[in-house]
């Protein structure tokens, strides 16, 4: 290893994970891909603020969530697209029954507060450590733990609640 490779060369391979976080976080594909685009441009032009040897995906997620919240502030009047087109295009959806349950899960996920949803996605789906997630969200590790716990609690409640209602 003669020269340190440009960290920008990692962006392509990290793209699928960046998109997965963006789409799960905002629940709307078009908005999510705009977020991804902004994230890539910012990451590219501010690459000097990335410390080599640290977790690049955590750095990218930080840019993305900051972008998400600033866009959200501008679009405060818009509600999240709970019944959006996201699931319709998801690959390899299983049997119809499971499809319905999965749709309910997605809807429930988008009804969580942004704080709870992002904590759950970072730790429960993206596999980041509580420490990385805390750094991304700009809060204490204990706060992330409690948000993940409450998010799971609320989701469990919502899904159990749906299940106990008679089918429409």
């Amino acid at each position: 290893m003669s020269e340190t490779p440009d960290p920008r060369s990692q962006l392509v391979e990290l793209l699928p994970r960046i998109r997965a976080f963006a789409i799960s976080l905002c629940g709307h594909r078009e908005q999510a891909d705009d977020l991804v685009q902004e994230t890539l441009v910012k990451a590219w032009s501010h690459i000097e603020s990335f410390q080599p040897g640290t977790n690049m995906i955590a750095w990218l997620f930080t840019i993305l969530r900051n972008e998400f919240y600033s866009t959200r502030r501008k679009r405060r009047h818009e509600v999240p697209d709970v019944d959006g087109e996201m699931a319709a295009t998801l690959a390899s959806l299983p049997a119809q029954e499971d499809h319905i349950a999965f749709q309910e899960f997605r809807t429930a996920l988008l009804t969580l507060s942004d704080d709870y949803r992002e904590a759950l996605l970072l730790v429960g789906a993206s596999g980041l450590s509580y420490e990385d997630a805390a750094q991304i969200c700009g809060c204490a590790v204990g706060t992330v733990k409690s948000r993940v716990h409450r998010a799971r609690d609320q989701l469990g409640r919502l899904l159990s609640g749906n299940a106990s209602r008679p089918a429409a």
Binding site: R8, L11, V12, E13, L15, P16, R17, R19, A20, F21, I23, S24, D33, V36, Q37, L40, V41, W44, L90, A91, S92, L93, P94, A95, E97, D98, I100, A101, F102, E104, F105, R106, L109, L120, L121, G124, A125, S126, G127, R152, D153, Q154, L155, G156, R157, L159, S160, G161, N162, A163, S164
Partner: protein, 91 residues
């Protein structure tokens, strides 16, 4: 291509597809019947029921994996190529 495995249990569920008792279409996806089990306890208790929580974990990973396995849209490949070209021109 671009397959992302978030953690070991994600890949375990994929390997699970080769087990004889599990049909591939149910790979990584919880069965609805677990969530529709009658709740004899108050919602309070069922919310953190380990089976329900286990399925929430599987759903989360399924959501992520399905998106991460999609081909990367051309617009991003083009964008990165464009940024790189501009960078080279500046040098």
């Amino acid at each position: 291509m671009c397959r992302y495995v978030p953690n070991s249990s994600g890949s375990a569920s994929r390997r699970g597809g080769q087990e004889k008792c599990m049909s591939p279409k149910h790979q990584g996806m919880p069965r609805r019947d677990v969530l529709t089990q009658p709740n004899t306890e108050a919602d309070e208790a069922s919310a953190l029921n380990p089976a329900v929580q286990d399925h929430i974990g599987q759903y989360l990973r399924h959501l992520y994996d399905s998106i991460a396995q999609e081909p990367v849209p051309d617009r991003f490949v083009e964008l990165l190529a464009d940024l790189e070209r501009k960078q080279r021109e500046r040098k």
